[in-house]
Symmetry: C2
Subunit: 271 residues, 2 copies
């Protein structure tokens, strides 16, 4: 059985879990991750310790615990459990306190933005904007877009736009490049005045054909020749128009988004 | 000027930055975060050190550096910069190596899923599913949904559905509860057979009225009396139908998603 790893947090524990996951991915073995969110009282800290100690007994070995509790008392309780306890917060907060020569606030629930803040509202607004401007649905308010992704159908524009909005509060519209545009040899008209905001996504023809075949099996739309044609035309257009672009073929949404943020110089902190 | 904080990563650095951000939020002061992604060679490590050392000179104090480089050589280079270097990876990898009695792989780029894996495709599929089933747009394939969020218009269903899909690969549909449903006193027909998958979002009437007024100022839709009526009816219906629900009023998307995942017992690791 894979070792059990507890992620103990006074908030959602999402950030800690994502980070723990990335550390554990350095080991060529499986782990069973158990997130224990909202541990915001001593009572809940004791319940958590019981859970950890039970797992130690049942599994015949001590579990691994990543803790990010900011309340010192609760944290001390969790640290006394029968486990390898890795304190993700205090480990870095202490040297920072020394460096900055101040004490940290030990305030809980600061990891995510408070839902009542202006930043949070901007983020929700960005999500709504990206949804309303998905796939060229609307040309209204394109002037408000931080970036407009362009590319052939199924090149990865939609997930990337939504990720940029969700994670960074970036108003990311997206607009398809379609055979009509290639025949006219021009950018879609609504985009011309926003050329400086355009960023292109391209993709390998073989991969595109696979993706399109899942949607519309055996269609002309999905045929490899058609995919090659569209991609070739789209890349030619992007080069001619001086639009920066990247290939999404082997990149995750996070990698695409990071590259775009660097290009548009909007490297905001994530939420 | 706020202290400069570099986040140095061989991947996107998103996970590290989000985590660093949560640690820094424990200090009641501002920081200037600079993410330095894709540091995957010795050359890039040296360029990064120059950047850090320049900042130290220009700002008259040493910057703070969070590093998550898995390549030991590059990491050693970065550690020799004129900064407080907090090694987010090695700090936890070493005790884990001891505990598990194995060596870690030191393989780069493992933080995010490889874009070519089955898991990644499932995640993209979940995003497409959630988009296609936003706001009751489609009743097709609701049987494939992991969860169906219900609630009055603007109660937070859409951002939550997209977050669940994006971050956890959960196929989250959402369906509005509208005055027609309240008059009939019944759940929307397409939902009846999926009752076990429903999860409700409610919201404070005052907050709902504010949100709706931004969309349609002065409308009946946004009027406080109408918001009170709809919410009261929706909550009555959810109680009667035995649907679990929570109030989204003061909760971030992450907090709502965490609660839902616990309820539907789909506490998958995040991507």
């Amino acid at each position: 059985m894979p070792p059990t790893v507890f992620i103990v947090s006074d908030g959602t524990g999402i950030t800690a879990e994502t980070f723990a996951h990335s550390i554990l991915s350095q080991f060529d073995q499986k782990f069973r991750l158990v997130r224990v969110p909202f541990v915001d009282s001593m009572d809940k800290a004791y319940v958590t310790v019981d859970k950890i100690n039970d797992a130690a007994v049942q599994e015949g070995r001590r579990p691994i615990v990543f803790t990010t509790l900011v309340d010192s008392q609760s944290n001390e309780v969790v640290k006394r459990s029968n486990a390898l306890v890795l304190d993700m917060f205090q480990t870095f907060v202490e040297p920072l306190e020394q460096e900055l020569d101040v004490k940290s606030s030990h305030a809980m629930g600061r990891v995510h933005q408070n839902a009542d803040t202006e930043e949070y509202k901007n983020r929700i607004e960005a999500i709504n904007f990206s949804l309303a401007h998905d796939d060229g649905q609307s040309n209204r308010n394109l002037v408000d877009a931080d970036v407009i992704l362009v590319g052939v159908s199924r090149s990865g524009k939609t997930p990337t736009s939504l990720y940029l909005a969700m994670q960074y509060g970036v108003k990311a519209a997206n607009y398809p490049l379609i055979p009509d545009d290639f025949e006219r040899g021009k950018l879609p008209t609504p985009l011309i005045e926003h050329r400086s905001k355009l960023f292109g996504l391209s993709i390998d023809a073989q991969r595109l054909s696979e993706i399109r075949n899942e949607r519309r099996p055996g269609s002309k739309y999905a045929a490899i020749e058609n995919c090659r044609y569209e991609i070739n035309e789209a890349e030619t257009m992007m080069r001619r128009e001086g639009i920066k672009w990247l290939s999404s073929t082997h990149k995750s949404i996070e990698e695409i988004a990071t590259t775009i943020l660097q290009e548009i110089r909007m490297d905001k902190p994530p939420y």
